[in-house]
Amino acid sequence: MKSQSLISSLNPANEPDSLDSFERAEIDASTKLPVLLFFGSAIFWLLVGSVLGLVSAWKMTHPGLLDGEAWLTFGRLRPAHLNTVIYGWASAAGIGVGIWLTARLCRVVLMHSKLLIAAAIFWNLGVFVGILGILAGDSRSIEWLEFPGYATPILFVSYAFIGIWTIIMFRYRRPGHVYVSQWYLFAAFLWFPWLYATANILLTWQPIQGSAQAAVNWWFAHNVLGLWFAPIGLASAYYMIPKVIGRPVHSYYLSILGFWSLALFYSWNGMHHLIGGPFPAWMVSASVVASIMMFIPVVTVAINHHMTMRGHFGALKWSPTLRFTVFGAMTYTLVSLQGSSMAIPSWNTFIHFTDHTIGHAHLGLYGFFTMIMFGAIYYIVPRLVGWEWPSANMIRWHFWLSAVGISIMVIALTIGGILQGFAFYDPTVSFRSSLDYATPFRIVRGLSGFLLLGGHIVFAVLFTQMVLRIGQIKEGPALFAKPSESQKEGVAV
């Protein structure tokens, strides 16, 4: 592939010239280093974040656990967990998937990989510095934006590199249709720097007064979900589901409609985190309305995925990617409908300030986004290293540990949160009683954390084996052979 300088790629005068056709394998191979860098980093942070989460969870029911040291106090471990899994695991995995998918959908070999490698280095540096800063006591205590001011510019530089790269790839893509996944990715990679810059400027560099901060805080945090994570997750699902089963999306028109209605309604949702709080009523009402209007894009996606999968659910037996992706896609529907219901004021009354919200957050970021990322990584990595995953059983272990783990966690926190909320509301019930309702469910949550950590360790081992080429020797690329009929029937679940 011809190499050219970054400046000439950005120069508007330089028209893309040739229509070199590239083999899909060549395109995949060109993405190898940046994508594996992001995946490897992401999986490392996943392990770190899982441990931080596990310890934080147990500290809630056993406050004497590892107490007495400032850097281990719950008030620091909990935001360290949050930021590690959001920025260290989820965002990095999303970027890795986005890079690979962008190259595939542009149908050209990856350009300027050095830009992406620099982005990966800056990313990890920013996350590392940020987490150490939180543990050292420099957390800003603004949810989802706890990283101290000396870490956020490092991340911003990385985001900027990725945004620039996306524009260049789009510019030099093979002409033709822009697939819906690419719209989602393009938008995510361009929306996010705007969100991040606005929030950081208004909360740290030029801070605004009082409760206006909370409005900006939750505008940011909720938009990170709906305009960064959700588009990347949906981009992956819209590509993987049809690609794995070999069938185009059921209604492409619906998928486009779903994309834009997501953009329309999602960004107004933020204020539903603050119902009853010190804000003008119209702001909160607008958020409640928008939260309910989310039914439209969410049901659109659900119908589309279901109709695409209809008649092919048997494929879940023989495709790891499909298993993780469909779990994630179904969870997207569930968590979005749950979110809409949580925004209704008369219900919000009971669940605000409870564990119910925590369950919802994990359902979305783990049940939806993380599971889809797992599915995508299982599809992508063999095509980068030219090597099959060494053990089908380990993949199954990973899936079931994650699926069962997150289900237990969410069910426990959801029920516990509701009981807690009813106790909060009842004027005859003491605060102590509300704690007594929540505690047994928090213990169950703590146990589920071990399942999740187990699944992640299995995943990390598999990934390491792939990258280092350890494992069973195969005669040929078995992955690319068609599954025989007997294999499709007899595979253990």
Binding site: P63, F74, G75, A215, V216, W260, A263, I275, F279, F353
Partner: protein
């Protein structure tokens, strides 16, 4: 299919409008809010915070108190906050004017702190509680913040600011005392300043049945 372009156009404008509604508008209105003058004392509502309390905000942020404690009193009938004694009235935007940042919080693992300075006006109670919460409230799940304190040998007379009445496994042995660090002193000053019981015209005290 012809209507598609129009739909997309509408969508773009509305996305941008969320920025206007949820960011620019609060910035320009709530962000410009001023304290109200108190005619009786010549001061302001909310009252200005003593310097130590302002420093205490940083300790509150650094220790992550906001992840278990909210600071919001909501109105009936959507909540029973006022009935349960969290405060005499709903907290409104003006109450957080001097907060940097505004620790509204989203979890009540522990009680709401909007008016903790009214409910617990004694500094020594706060020091005891922060040092070893379980010795003050035996069912508490709050972790110990004894790393904000120093254990030291008593030189002659006990220090004026030594924490009194400490019990439990980390209580000072005879001849020793526990003294708050600057961080602990600042944090307690901040907690004592948390009082949203002054009158504000935009948040009248509701009559309770």
């Amino acid at each position: 299919m012809n209507r598609l372009p129009l739909i997309f156009l509408g969508v773009f404008l509305t996305f941008a409008s969320s920025w206007v509604g949820l960011v620019a508008y609060p910035y320009l209105t709530l962000g410009q809010m001023q304290p109200l003058p108190d005619e009786d004392t010549g001061g302001y509502f909310p009252p200005s915070m003593p310097g130590l309390a302002v420093a205490g905000q940083s300790v509150y942020a650094s220790s992550g108190c906001v992840y278990c404690h909210s600071q919001q009193v909501r109105l009936a009938p959507l909540s029973t906050d006022i009935q349960k004694g969290l405060g005499p009235r709903q907290t409104v935007a003006r109450d957080y004017l001097r907060a940097q940042p505004a620790f509204l919080g989203t979890m009540r693992t522990g009680p709401d702190l909007s008016n903790i300075g009214v409910r617990q006006p004694d500094a020594n109670w706060h020091h005891q509680h922060l040092y070893e919460p379980k010795t003050v409230t035996d069912w508490s799940v709050m972790p110990s913040f004894r790393f904000l304190y120093k254990m030291q040998k008593i030189e002659g007379q006990p220090s004026d600011d030594a924490v009194k009445g400490l019990r439990g496994p980390h209580a000072p042995p005879p001849g020793y005392e526990v003294v708050p660090t600057d961080d602990a002193t600042a944090l307690v000053a901040y907690l004592l300043s948390l009082k949203r019981n002054f009158p504000l015209p935009e948040s009248p005290e509701p009559k309770l049945e």
